[in-house]
Every structure is written in C-alpha cells, then in structure tokens.
Amino acid sequence: MNSGSNPISTLVWTFGLMSLFAVGGANSAIPEMHRIAVDVQHWMSDKQFADIFAISQLSPGPNVLIVTLIGYSVAGVAGALAATLAMCGPTAILAYYVSRLLQRSSHSRWPAIIQAALVPLSIGLMGASGLILALTSDRSWVAGLITAAVAVLAFATRLNPVWLLLAGGALGFAGVI
C-alpha cells in the first residue's frame, strides 16, 4: 500500500476493511479515515479533511458520504463510486444474512448482549472523532468557542442542525474565525 499502487484498489481495500470495523456508523470511523487519508496515504491535508467533513455534514443523505468525498478527491468519479460501494457493500450483505438468520431463530438474547457491549465502544469512537475533528478544524479560540456553543445548543435544544451549520458558515464568511 504505497503511492505506486493503484489508488482505486487502495480505496476499495481501505474502506471495505474499515466498514467491517465501523461499529456504530460512519461517524465512529472518522478517526481511522483521518489516520489513513492524512497520515498514512497522504491523500489530503488536515485542512482538506476538515473541509470534507463539513461538506459531508452539509449535504443531504447519510453521513457515510464523507467516504464518497474522500474517494472523489483521490481518484475522481470512479474513486467516489468505488469508495462508497466498498464502504456500504460488505456490511449490507452481512446485515442481509444476519437478519435472515435472526428471523429463523428469533428472540435469542445474544443481540441484546452484543448491543449492550458495543454501545460504549461506539460512543467512545464518536468522541474520538469529535476530538480529532476539533483539533483539525478549530484553529483559533473563536473557532473553538463556536464549536462549544453549537455543542451546547444542539444538546440543550431541539433546534434543527441545519440552522446551526448555516450559522457557522455565516460566521465563517463574516471572517470571525
């Protein structure tokens, strides 16, 4: 896996493998994406990664689309397609078979135990995502303050997240950050 290899196959391999470890959804895999995209493969800079995360949150659709954006920036449209399918395909097939299995042997208590065991893991992963993204995108104390303010607002109120994202964009445009 060095720069000499075909980027598409690297993408497929990377995200296909990552998807199987993404306990709790795409957001918990962000630290790993950051590690691979920025530190290991040097596909993009810290700043670009933060931008891509912002775009993926702004665009409609599942959060997993951050993978599409990374794929695109590495290898164009083909890369976007390859990365998305690699991220979604294996686990979708797995989900399909497991759900059929569970339908047959219904109400085992394993699902509850597995879920109880994995919930703390996935929250910890998402917390790590938050930290890493905060370090990459909050370059000034004002930016850190905005992140904190949004976190508190979103936690305490039922405000639609889109407004908070747009407010952040407006503040950024105004040159506050």
């Binding site: 998807s19 993404a22 931008d51 659709g61 599942p62 979604c88 989900a95 910890g124 909050d138 979103a154």
Partner: protein, 173 residues
C-alpha cells in the same frame, strides 16, 4: 422508491426521516418491527442506515428489494456529494468559500460532540461504570494515542462482550 426521497430530506443523518417514512407514512412496519430491525443494524458494523435500508428492502422484495432500497438511499446523495466534491476541487481555494467551510466545520464538530453527549446520558443515568470505563478507554486509545482502529477493536470488542455477558449472568443468577 420512497428511500430516494427520504435520503434527500435527511440533512446530517437520515434516521429520523427513515422512521417517519417507514412507520408513520407508509405503514410498512410497526414501531416495534422498526426498533428491532434498527437494533440489529446498529450492532452490525458499517453505516447503520444503509444496512437498515437493505434489510428492510430485502424483507419485502427479496434481494431485488434490498438492492433497490440501497440504490435509492445511497444513489441520489452520492451524486450530489460527487458534484459538491467536484466544485470543492475546483473552487476550494477561493477565500470566501474557505472561510464559510471553516465555519461550517466548526459547527459540524459541535453537532457531533452534542450527539456523543446525548448518547452518553443513558449510560450515566444507569451508573453503568463498566460501560463508561470502556467508553473512555476507547476514546483515549483512538483519540489521544491514535492507535489503528482494527487493533483497538480486536481487543475491545471481545473484552466488552465478555464483561457484559458475565455481568448479565451474575444479575440473573
């Protein structure tokens, strides 16, 4: 299929919309069925909502239904994301856009952090000390030490499973 519409409506995450469409509008599933399916898709790895759509589609129309739901959910947003990525690649260096994106990413990180705290609340309320310790350990290993995900999970998943299983047995005994 309705998944296409849903996927476009869901800014920052589709789950809420998926529930509304499947349970409230189309009555394809009861609330209990939805919760069970969602729980299943939550403990499987990978993007939850994508898994959910596939399982859901497959339950109605077999493999073809699964593929249709998948394409409906992922297709349209993927096209949009690709267009956005292309725009970013071309205009990403423009100063105004850079500033806007910087602002949006600050807010987006804040949103993510708020979700983390919301998800932590049930653990804190239950005084689930084991869960919280595991949570913090994973956070440190990935967030601060920056260990590779696979290595951390290969240790953490069996450990957490074992402890949870053991605790449940003791409670039941």
């Amino acid at each position: 299929m309705a998944f296409a519409k849903m996927s476009l409506a869901g800014f920052g995450g589709v789950l809420v919309w998926a529930r509304r469409g499947i349970v409230d509008q189309h009555r394809w599933m009861t609330a209990e069925e939805f919760n069970e399916t969602f729980a299943l898709c939550h403990f499987l790895p990978g993007p939850n909502i994508v898994n959910l759509s596939v399982v859901f589609g497959a339950r109605f129309r077999g493999i073809a239904g699964g593929i249709a739901a998948f394409a409906g959910l992922v297709g349209p947003p993927m096209v949009i994301a690709t267009i956005l990525a292309a725009l970013y690649a071309r205009y990403g260096e423009i100063d105004a856009l850079r500033r806007i994106l910087a602002g949006v990413s600050c807010a987006a990180v804040g949103l993510l952090i708020s979700v983390v705290f919301k998800m932590m609340m049930p653990l804190i309320k239950k005084r689930d000390a084991v869960g919280l310790v595991i949570l913090v350990a994973v956070f440190i290993a990935i967030g601060l030490v920056r260990l590779p995900l696979q290595a951390v999970l290969l240790v953490a998943i069996p450990l957490s499973l074992g402890i949870t299983y053991f605790m449940r047995r003791r409670v039941n005994a």
